[in-house]
């Protein structure tokens, strides 16, 4: 249930190859801009066009890499949930936080409080966002 979504190897290859090709074009364009600038027929305008192409290609390459990362981090059907049950003693306010177990419900009466021997109950059940 909590496994990350699997991306098909074909798709992964497509993203990697695409990003590399675009990156290569960007590098070539930067070199071309430099070469034009240094050549005898130096033209700032033409060098500018190459730099523009290089910028577009770099952005496209970054986008492809980002898209690949997003695709591999999308989670499966049910988002993993850390659901906690909070046991509490009404008399001495002793608290015990533990993972939710099947059969737990809010205001369920439990065994005796380890501190004052009064009956404890589940005061809360909630989920914590992962990474918080």
């Amino acid at each position: 249930m909590a496994e990350p979504r699997k991306v098909s190897p074909m798709m992964l290859v497509f993203y990697i190859v695409g990003a590399l090709i675009v990156l290569l074009i960007a590098i070539i364009s930067i070199y071309a801009a430099y070469a034009v600038f240094r050549s005898s027929q130096a033209s700032i305008e033409d060098a500018g066009y190459f730099l523009l192409i290089a910028t577009v290609m770099l952005i496209l390459s970054a986008y492809l890499m980002g898209a690949m990362r997003r695709r591999t981090t999308i989670v499966s059907v049910v988002i993993p949930q850390d659901v906690l049950s909070i046991e509490e003693c009404a008399k001495c306010s002793f608290k015990n936080v533990r993972a939710f177990m099947r059969g737990d419900y809010v205001f369920k009466t439990l065994g005796k409080c380890p501190r004052c021997s009064e009956p404890m109950s589940i005061a809360a059940i909630y989920r914590e966002e992962r990474g918080k």
């Binding site: 249930m1 074009i25 070539i28 364009s29 070199y31 071309a32 070469a35 034009v36 050549s39 005898s40 027929q41 033209s43 305008e45 033409d46 066009y49 192409i53 499966s76 059907v77 049910v78 988002i79 949930q81 659901v83 939710f100 099947r102 059969g103 737990d104 419900y105 809010v106 205001f107 369920k108 809360a124 059940i125 909630y126 989920r127 914590e128 966002e129």
Partner: protein
């Protein structure tokens, strides 16, 4: 030969390409980016005609096949959604079968019966004559609920009432996912078969909403199996806070009520019967209390979760005038009818959360908001009622995981 004047960038690029090293590599770059620059690479010489042909071809392709390209791209998007929906549907089906086998202790393999139930659907009453349609809808929904419960009871002889309710809700989630999957697939296949832009557009436009709903329903499935409180149950949780340590009795179908006193006011607090998954029929309970008290009820307060608007904070509380109950509208209609007939004021306390948060285990912010909502209700009672008044507080929502 046709001489088409070139736009300035490509003209200068032609000159440029001729003057720098790695000329073919650079031509390749140009041709990749600008198909019409293909005509400008040095070894093709002065080939303006090629550029013209490329332009005309591109123009014709986009004019004649533009919509087909768009349909293709939209179908690809819907196809990805269908794959996701199918995965969700299959996973929830597997979860349902597993849970029924584990908790219901069936005598024989329930798979065939579950698959049969998954195809079950409800036919709404005819709307040509809307007179009395709510009663008809209520009857149909009652029959449907009973049918579901009977079916689940038959395949899970070992389940107690709470587990039975949870499994019934789980099966309903599986049925609704199956239905959504089939609907989306229907439009996809129809669009593909007819190549109709508008058929595909219909489903593509609502796809993000459909997917969000489907993800939320799938997330609820596991919570039903484990019996965890859902975000939607926050209304029931508020009522549970007010009912704590008091004796409750069943007053209507799956609805329990306590009668207590709050600062000289007579307080009737009700919610669905927990801790199994249930919403009950709060309208029957409210109407019964109103009738039993001869209409002498000073205020009806409904407490429910409300789907927040984008930008609103999860767990924020709002007050409203009117009856806050979701679903098909049968309960809302019945309470409104009684309240308006007997001139009983109706107010609502709403706890905001997202669609997904409503159908996934309750978030900490939502749980804590329930405590604030209790105080808000107390404040409301002090402001809006006087000593000696009778007040109904109804916690609306699924009470799974809440006593």
């Amino acid at each position: 030969m046709l001489a088409v004047p070139l736009p300035r960038p490509y003209e200068s690029l032609t000159n440029l390409i001729a003057g720098i090293p790695f000329v073919y590599l650079k031509s390749l770059v140009m041709s990749f980016l600008f198909p019409f620059a293909l005509a400008q690479i040095p070894f093709l010489g002065d080939s303006g005609w090629l550029q013209f042909v490329v332009w005309v071809l591109l123009f014709l392709i986009f004019i004649l096949y533009g919509q087909r390209i768009q349909i293709f791209s939209m179908l690809r998007e819907v196809e990805a959604a269908i794959r996701r929906l199918e995965a969700l549907k299959n996973e929830v089906r597997a979860l349902t079968i597993g849970a029924i086998k584990e908790m219901g202790k069936p005598v024989e393999d329930p798979t065939g019966k579950i698959d049969q139930i998954l195809e079950f659907f409800t036919i709404p009453p005819v709307q040509l004559d809307p007179m009395g349609i709510v009663r008809k809808l209520e009857h149909i929904l009652d029959v449907r609920d009973q049918r579901f419960k009977d079916d689940v009871r038959r395949i899970t002889p070992g389940a107690d009432e709470a587990v039975l309710n949870n499994l019934t809700n789980l099966l309903e989630a599986a049925v609704s996912l199956n239905y959504v999957y089939k609907q989306v697939r229907h439009f996809y296949l129809l669009g593909k078969r007819t190549s109709s832009f508008f058929v595909v557009l219909q489903i593509q436009m609502i796809l993000p909403q459909v997917m969000m709903e489907a993800e939320a329903v799938a997330s609820a499935a596991k919570a039903f199996i484990l019996g965890q409180p859902l975000g939607d149950g926050v209304g029931a949780l508020v009522a549970a806070h007010l009912m704590r340590n008091k004796t409750a009795h069943e007053i209507a179908k799956d609805i329990v009520m306590t009668e207590s006193e709050f600062e000289g006011r007579r307080l009737f607090v009700m919610k669905a019967k927990g801790p199994g998954a249930a919403v009950g029929k709060p309208s029957d309970a409210i109407n019964r209390i109103v009738e039993e008290n001869g209409g002498k009820i000073s205020l009806i307060v409904t407490v429910d979760a409300q789907v927040k608007l984008e930008g609103e904070k999860t767990g924020s509380i709002a007050e409203a005038t009117g009856v806050a109950i979701g679903g098909y509208g049968v309960d809302k209609f019945k309470i409104e009818e009684t309240a308006s007939r007997l001139k009983v004021p109706v107010v609502a306390v709403l706890i905001k959360l997202s669609n997904i948060e409503a159908l996934t285990p309750m978030k900490r912010e939502v749980f804590e908001a329930a405590t604030s909502a209790v105080e808000r209700i107390k404040g409301l009672l002090r402001e809006r009622t006087r000593t000696g008044d009778s007040v109904i507080v109804a916690g609306i929502g699924n009470t799974v995981g809440i006593m």
